[in-house]
């Protein structure tokens, strides 16, 4: 193979060439494999919980073990899977490609992010092996700082370190998008995926440090034996909750905005149309990031927060629904009279929209004070955020992974299997989590391993759904790995998509482009459709 034809995968295959790489594409792949590892551990914890909940009695695990299971599941899924999922894997891989750059602005810092993530993951994993943590992923004080008899500090340290990894990722994205765009690529010619990741990065940079200091204060309090969140001394545990949710609610948008970016990319490509209302979709990402910082109090409606604060937070939470709804309407309008085809990424994206609408609307119910008092701490909340986090973000991640898989691996995944897995996931997901809405509405509390017998039927349905969902996740794992070796070789632009990342070969060369591209048009400039919504002949020919 001549030097000219080498791609980023064939430029070196030693372990060292991977562990010391500063190539954003390789770092993206390092992240992909590491987050899959954590996803698997967290999924096993979820599976154990679902098996326990098959029967009303606590027959598989003790209450203590159950507490540790949902803590492992929450901590690993939130910080070691969802937050890095689309940004650190897909974002890392495609941002420089999409903006026509050779790499991130700070390639070494990019690698450092991965090492911080791994070191943080090591501490979290170590805390689990030592015996786990039973505080839940929220670490509420004074339980976490004074009473819990588990490895809280080590787990918090893991999250603290991984948190600095994501801060550096956010910083790198902001600087890269701001300073590294190709000639002619103005802000309003940027793909919407870039806009959504820019908004995500702002949240990463401004919210994560608050989590870091909060967990540090909690840990100092635990080590020192005295602190500011413990009422014994006059401290206020609710202050911890304010600080925690000041990070953790915006973090929810870290976990959904990138997914929305994927939707905008995929839906235009498989509807063969320009996005409807580019400016609205772009600025709704910014609006979600900004307003998202002002809604944290809706987690604390029943935590002794003043009723007037509750009302303000309730109204602000309703406001976030506006930019979110704008996106959904614009995606739907993009589909209107498009030439739609149902490749796997498109199926994922359509199920994202459906599940996000359900998750979002139930979010509005939860933002309503009286309804929240009724369903607070029940499975209704669990169902709501799983519709957003799993139904939304994981689905979008799978969609994006399939969409860019030919670019990442240079191979096509098996299309029929891809479509099948997407449908299995949609069915399995709804069967798992829809019954939980009913359970919560009927009053089943979350975080319990025993429950009243009348809830059993819904729990059995949910566990059955989880098994189907498990199959849905296993399938892509198998066929994507298979396709790396045996898949059909991908062309540079298998989807006939616009966007700079499709103008270079698959997989791209180490420096992304043989010559720096120049951009002269708006994004999603798909050839016009004729009156009955078909692609005109001219563009059909090169398909």
């Amino acid at each position: 193979m001549s030097e000219e034809n080498k791609n980023y995968l064939s430029t070196g295959d030693t372990v060292k060439s991977w562990l010391l790489t500063t190539d954003h594409k390789r770092i993206g792949i390092l992240f992909l494999f590491s987050i899959l590892l954590f996803f698997t551990i967290a999924a096993v914890a979820a599976a154990l919980m679902r098996i326990e909940l098959l029967t009303p009695q606590g027959d598989l695990v003790h209450a203590d073990t159950y507490n540790k299971l949902f803590t492992i599941h929450g901590v690993l899924m939130v910080w070691f899977f969802l937050i890095p999922s689309i940004p650190s894997v897909l974002g890392n891989f495609v941002i420089p490609l999409m903006i026509g750059a050779r790499d991130m602005a700070f390639p070494k810092l990019n690698l450092l992010s991965w090492y911080l993530f791994i070191i943080g993951g090591f501490f979290a994993f170590h805390a689990i092996i030592l015996g786990g943590v039973d505080t839940g992923w929220t670490f509420y004080t004074p339980y976490s700082s004074a009473y819990s008899n588990s490895h809280v500090v080590e787990m918090a340290l893991g999250i603290f370190i991984a948190g600095f990894g994501s801060i550096l990722t956010g910083l790198n994205f902001i600087v890269t998008i701001q300073t590294m765009r190709a000639p002619g690529l103005t802000w309003f010619r940027l793909p919407l995926f870039i806009w959504s990741l820019f908004a995500t990065s702002v949240i990463l940079v401004l919210a994560t440090p608050v989590l870091a200091i909060t967990l540090a204060l909690m840990s100092v309090e635990r080590i020192w034996g005295i602190g500011i969140f413990n009422p014994k001394l006059g401290g206020d545990p609710v202050l911890f909750q304010h600080l925690f949710w000041f990070y953790s609610h915006p973090a929810v948008y870290i976990m959904i905005l990138p997914g929305m970016g994927v939707v905008s990319e995929v839906i235009t490509c498989f509807a063969r149309k320009k996005i409807f209302g580019y400016y609205f979709v772009a600025f709704s990402s910014v609006a979600i990031a900004v307003v998202g910082f002002l809604v944290w109090g809706h987690h604390m409606f029943v935590s002794s927060q003043s009723i007037y604060a509750g009302m303000a937070f309730s109204i602000l939470s309703f406001l976030v629904a506006i930019p979110s709804a704008i996106k959904v309407f614009n995606w739907t309008m993009t589909l209107y009279r498009g030439s739609i085809s149902f490749e796997a990424p498109m199926i994922y994206v359509l199920s994202f929209i459906a599940l996000f609408v359900i998750g979002g609307l139930t979010g509005l119910m939860l933002a309503t004070l009286p309804v929240d008092v009724h369903v607070h701490g029940t499975y209704f909340v669990v169902a709501h955020f799983h519709y957003i986090m799993v139904g939304g973000m994981v689905t979008a991640f799978m969609g994006g992974l399939h969409y860019w898989w030919p670019k990442i691996s240079g191979r096509m995944y098996p299309e029929k299997l891809g479509q099948l897995a997407a449908i299995i996931m949609f069915v399995g997901f709804n069967l798992t989590f829809f019954p939980q809405y009913i359970l919560g509405y009927l009053g089943m509390p979350r975080r319990v391993h025993e429950y009243a017998p009348e809830f059993q039927i819904y729990n059995v349905l949910s566990t059955a759904g989880a098994s189907i969902l498990g199959v849905g996740y296993l399938l892509p794992l198998i066929y994507l790995l298979w396709s790396i070796f045996y898949g059909k070789r991908a062309t540079a632009n298998p989807w006939n998509a616009t966007g700079l990342e499709w103008q270079t070969s698959s997989p791209p060369p180490k420096n992304n482009f043989h010559e720096t591209p120049v951009v002269t048009e708006e994004p999603y400039n798909y050839p016009p459709l004729n009156e009955i919504g078909e692609i005109t002949l001219a563009s059909n020919e090169h398909k």
């Binding site: 910083l171 300073t179 940079v205 401004l206 200091i213 204060l217 500011i228 202050l239």
Partner: protein
Amino acid sequence: MKENSIVADQFENAQQQSEAAHLGMWTFIATEILFFGGLFLAYIVYRHFYFTEFVAASKHTEVLFGTINSIILLTSSLTMALAVHAAKENYRLQISRWLALTIFLGLAFLAVKGLEYHDDIENKLVPGAHFDPSLPAQSQIFFWLYWTMTGLHAIHVTVGLGVLSTMLLLARKEKFSANYNTPLTLAGLYWHFVDIVWLFLFALLYVISRHK
């Protein structure tokens, strides 16, 4: 001058590289502000909850040490700015001199802080079982914040000294000039940030309630 303005592979030119580095540092400082922000919020909340206890406690901080340290850090910001200025004017020898002086002042700050901590421990100002019994119980919250805020700040000073020492080494190798001084300028930015944080700490922990 080529060896002095090395442009990394991913950048088109030196200007783009310098812009990226500056934006990166400012973004990092934004992160740092939010990092300290949690502590400042806690201070505001508890000062509101336990005003008289905070007033009583703040009379026990050592204002003399605090004032000396404020002067030291402010002066170090000046010498830092002079180091950057020397680079921009191409006075290469002076860069090292001003940097060395800045590092010396940083060390002096830590030394004074150490003396103060020593006195604080002797005066039973560490929250916990051995806390000064003549002070109201909630003053411990004040001192808990005092220790964590100044401790976190001291960590930042220490990191800053590490950065400045690296800059000193690079300056001795004559890496900086009017054409290329981005790392030095950004190290300066960080140092000024650490300095500004101290001014807020000084105001809140030593000065604000002294005459109430």
